[in-house]
């Protein structure tokens, strides 16, 4: 059953079209990877899916859980079960990881039931401790200001921690491997693999094949010029690793 269905999506920023008619369907239990050279619109796609106000969708539909989500605010998309692990998570000074996560959980509970009193502190602490230990994070981390002064690795780990807490049904990982050393990469990937289940879909956006050694995709797509130009199985990633993107570019340009 399809979880996310992107139909003929066109996205522009400052009047310039970046994503030019993208189609993609992700079914439950599937991991998809979108690869491609820099500047082909991969991050634009992820921001547009999450509803960033600077990215303007000019055409197309995105169906998620039975509705076209393009008119929904980012917080509504999140509460519906979408999650974006950011390539560059922004710092929120003065707001601790714990306070932030509790606010996110309570926002979900309150959307369900406006009378909800929020998660109890002991219940929240217990849950957070479990998720943090899964990602081999120091408990003191919960008391730090969100992404403020975090190393590249800490930021990415914090993103996956949020994913673990929020338990989305579709997770988009935007260049989650960038800035990670091999140990951190393994921890983060194991985290994602642990969270993955039959009801869920994952979209991995990456420049390099490296991450796909740890998070194994069922499908690999190549994005170029704002579109998916080539799709295949896991072998496609290896082929790209070995031969680069030139052969796809030639094929794609020949077809233009």
């Amino acid at each position: 059953m399809s979880i996310l269905e992107i139909k003929n999506l066109h996205v522009g920023i400052d009047g310039k079209e970046i994503v030019k008619g993208l189609n993609l369907t992700i079914n439950s239990g599937e991991v998809h990877a979108i690869m491609g050279p820099n500047g082909t619109g991969k991050s634009t796609l992820s921001y547009a899916l999450m509803g960033h106000p600077s990215y303007e969708v000019t055409e197309g539909e995105v169906w998620f859980k039975g509705q076209n989500i393009l008119d929904l605010e980012p917080d509504e998309r999140s509460r519906l079960g979408m999650f974006l692990a950011f390539q560059y998570p922004v710092a929120i000074p003065g707001v601790t990881v714990a306070n932030f996560l509790r606010s996110a959980i309570n926002a979900r509970r309150r959307a369900e039931n406006p009378e909800d009193k929020g998660v109890s502190i002991p219940e929240f602490r217990k849950m957070l401790k479990e998720k943090m230990s899964m990602l081999k994070m120091d408990p003191a981390f919960a008391g730090r200001y969100l992404n403020d002064g975090f190393s590249g690795g800490e930021k990415k780990r914090a993103e996956i921690l949020q994913m673990a807490v929020l338990q989305p049904s579709i997770a988009i990982l935007d260049e989650t491997d960038s800035g990670l050393d091999i140990d951190a990469l393994r921890i983060v990937s194991e985290g994602v693999n642990t969270l993955m289940n039959e009801e869920m879909g994952v979209l991995v956006i990456t420049h390099y094949q490296r991450l796909l050694n740890y998070i194994k995709p069922h499908f690999v797509h190549v994005m170029m010029g704002g579109r998916i130009v080539e799709s295949g199985g896991p072998d496609l990633a290896l082929q790209l690793e070995e031969h680069g993107y030139d052969w796809v570019r030639e094929k794609y340009e020949a077809a233009e």
Partner: protein
Amino acid sequence: MEEKPKVVVTRTRRADSAAKDFPYTQAQIRPGEALQAYRARAWAAYQKHSLPDTSLEAWRRTDLRSLPVDAFPLPLPEAYHDLPSVQEDLLLPLADGQHGGQIILRPGGASVELSQELAAQGVIFTDLLTAEREHPALLAKLAGKTVNPEEGKFAALAAAFAQNGILLYIPKNVQVQAPLHSILWGPGGYAHFSHLLILVEEGASVTYVHEAASPDEPGINTLHAGIVEIQVMQGANLRFVELQSWGKHAWNFSHERARVERDAQLDWIFGAIGSRLTKNFSELDLAGQGAQGRMSGFYFTDGNQHLDHDTQQNHLAPHTSSDLLFKGALKGKSRSVWQGMIYVAPGAQKTDGYQANRNLVLDDRARADSIPGLEILADDVRCTHGATVGKLEEEPLFYLKSRGIPQDEAEKLVVEGFFDPIFQRIPFEGVRERFQNYIADKMSH
């Protein structure tokens, strides 16, 4: 802007008295032995000063032309019986633990409670009228000691006419554990003049919370002018929290100065959310070697509010340190001014002075002015300052929303985060909670 006819006034001493002024007369000064000489001096100063205008540097950004000087009668004794009564939530303890004493100052009357234990230790915590009767010598000794009535029109006004006030005296080496609490409740279309006098003797320590408040009463005008005089003697320790939540119709002026003696410490916390217009002068005099002072300010304005805080950190002796952080958020068409100065006197070597003011402007029509200043007349010192005015940025809000947090809550989280460095400096859970409630309240409309 409204077109106003241009009036050219030739400035002479005579012209001053012809300019707009309050209608108070010498006959309205409360009689009483204790402060008679002081009040006579204040009255002379009051007559000498005209209402400050924007040609004065300290008043350059705070214009009093629309102050309705004739609108503020003095309340008669027991006037409070016919006025809104004090909000219950203001009476709850704010600093940790139950009150050791609580005073409610109302228009035309006061009620005083002090634990017998503290009274037996010689602690004096009482209202001004009682102090005039029972402690005239002490009062006469303290009045005018740190704030000179001649400093300005409003200092003179409060000094001459104070109907209400507090005398707090902690004897030598007495450690007061339970916090003391006073409320100046100023409802109605009146002038409220207050005078706080605090003396913490050598080696003593105390936590004191004072708040000034009134209900919102649209359509009327309220005036408050106050003086706060503080002395923290050698090795003593004062934690002083001052909150103001005057109604949006109140004009609020204050002159405050703390003198901190050798190896003494003052932790001075300000919270301001009320009034139509505030002009507050707060000065820290580090008068003895090793004296330390910390000033932490929280303000949040909305609507048409105008809050102007003028701070001064005076290092008058060597090895003194001061640390000031004021943070404010602004909504609507409101305006804030913070003007700060660190002064290091000649010979005040090895001093460490810090001041920072941070503002978060939540609305395009709001405006924050931030003017730091240093005047250093010693050569072996460390003084740093910083001032910033920022806006709510889109990226943090998008980030929070992408985790399911709705726009208004995301904004509130960012604003709370902005104020967190102030919360970190406040040792009282109750005060932090109060500030959080202020934020929630201001953000919700």
